[in-house]
């Protein structure tokens, strides 16, 4: 089941070319980063990015792994995309320079620097998030991780959930602080299919 996928290894990751590293591509219909933050002290507001692309490699024998995920910032969605009588929707506002400035920064990316294992499974990912052109550390905890043959795709895949927290002000996104919270909780659901 483990093949050496040399081409993808050389392209993808600055890992030592380990003996039996497997490469997986994130499956877009089943990979979504979600976020939650405090809204004016009243409620927790949720949002999501719909378009992502990326891959991860994992060598369970050597207990090393690496990942890279690119997120299209324009794909931000919080459910508010009909103007009604307003000048703009919230999703439109989020795309402007007040928030994600998607015209100038069409992508935010996360690249791992180190992955810690718990037995054969990745447990914690240390990495860097680049958002609005600013790069800061972001650690993600792997909350759920399962590898098996996908019952519909009939190919081997690994999927799960991961979570972390960041402060948006550290990336220069300071509008409406503190009424709109600084701390943003990230939850990612993901599925990677083996290449």
């Amino acid at each position: 089941m483990r093949k050496i996928v040399v081409g993808a290894l050389i392209l993808a990751m600055p890992l030592a070319a380990a003996a039996e590293a497997e490469t997986f591509a994130f499956d877009p219909p089943h990979t979504f980063p979600h976020f939650a933050l405090d809204y004016a002290g009243y409620a927790t507001i949720y949002g999501r990015f719909d378009k992502t692309a990326g891959r991860f490699t994992i060598d369970r024998a050597a207990k090393t792994a690496a990942l890279e995920l690119a997120v299209e910032t324009v794909s931000v969605t919080t459910g508010d995309n009909e103007r009604g009588s307003r000048a703009r929707t919230r999703d439109e506002h989020l795309r402007t320079a007040d928030f994600f400035n998607v015209a100038e920064f069409p992508r935010m990316t996360y690249k791992s620097t180190n992955v810690k294992f718990n037995g054969e499974d990745p447990a914690e990912i240390e990495g860097q998030l680049t958002l609005l052109g600013v790069t800061r550390p972001l650690t993600l905890k792997v909350d759920r991780w399962v590898c098996k043959v996908h019952p519909f795709y009939k190919k081997f895949g690994c999927g799960g959930n991961a979570s972390g927290v960041l402060k948006r002000s550290e990336f220069g996104m300071k509008i409406f602080l503190p009424v709109l919270g600084d701390e943003v909780r990230i939850t990612i659901m993901f599925l990677g299919m083996k290449q």
Binding site: H30, G41, Y42, T77, P151, G159
Partner: protein, 195 residues
């Protein structure tokens, strides 16, 4: 702060016409129903209904309240709405008769029967969910609750978050069991303006 709005009180809730229940209308731009369900034992998949409306009444003196929520089932949104090379997207599939059958059941509704208070704040809501024409009990826990003036428009409001869980098979939604989980966790973020 509490006006006697007899007309509304009679319309809204079958409570004893208490001294002065206040009525709040959910703000459609800050009220969403989210759900989470197990996907193939690999990850937790999240989704959202974008179009939610309704109202709630509150009598903090008598410690009584009521809520009615209407969700447009066609507004379901899990981030997968572009077909690519597939016959249909996931969101299209969710709208057909395999899942939400939105043509026949354009709305699902939640109506409370009892609201239990903890001090001045609602703590749990007992009620009925009607989905796919089937009505079953559903209790919601109020995880977050706050009332005050909106910091920007200065209108009186209450907002928060609530959660609960259902078994979709109880409502006749049995497609893809058990690959897609039966237990569906619900998360509501809401804000309502006093009328």
């Amino acid at each position: 702060m509490k006006g006697l709005t007899l007309g509304l009180a009679m319309l809204c809730v079958p409570l004893g016409a208490a001294a002065s229940p206040d009525t709040y209308e959910f703000d459609r731009y800050h009220t969403y129903v989210h759900f989470a369900v197990d996907h193939l034992g690999m990850s937790t998949i999240w989704g959202r209904f974008d179009a939610v409306s309704g109202k709630f009444t509150l009598d903090t003196q008598a410690k009584r309240g009521g809520v009615e929520l209407r969700v447009e089932t066609a507004s379901i949104n899990t981030g997968d709405n572009e077909r690519g090379s597939r016959a249909r997207s996931r969101d299209e599939h969710l709208r057909n008769a395999d899942f939400f059958n939105v043509l026949e059941f354009p709305q699902m509704t939640y109506k409370s029967s009892t609201v239990k208070f903890s001090g001045d704040a609602p703590a749990t809501v007992q009620g009925q969910l009607m989905l796919l024409g089937v009505t079953r009990p559903l209790s919601l826990t109020i995880d977050r609750w706050n009332c005050g003036l909106h910091p920007f428009n200065k209108k009186e409001m209450c907002g928060g978050n609530a959660s609960g869980s259902i078994k979709r098979s109880d409502f006749g939604m049995k497609y893809a069991l058990p690959a897609v989980g039966d237990e569906v966790k619900l998360f509501v973020e809401f804000e309502g303006y006093k009328q």
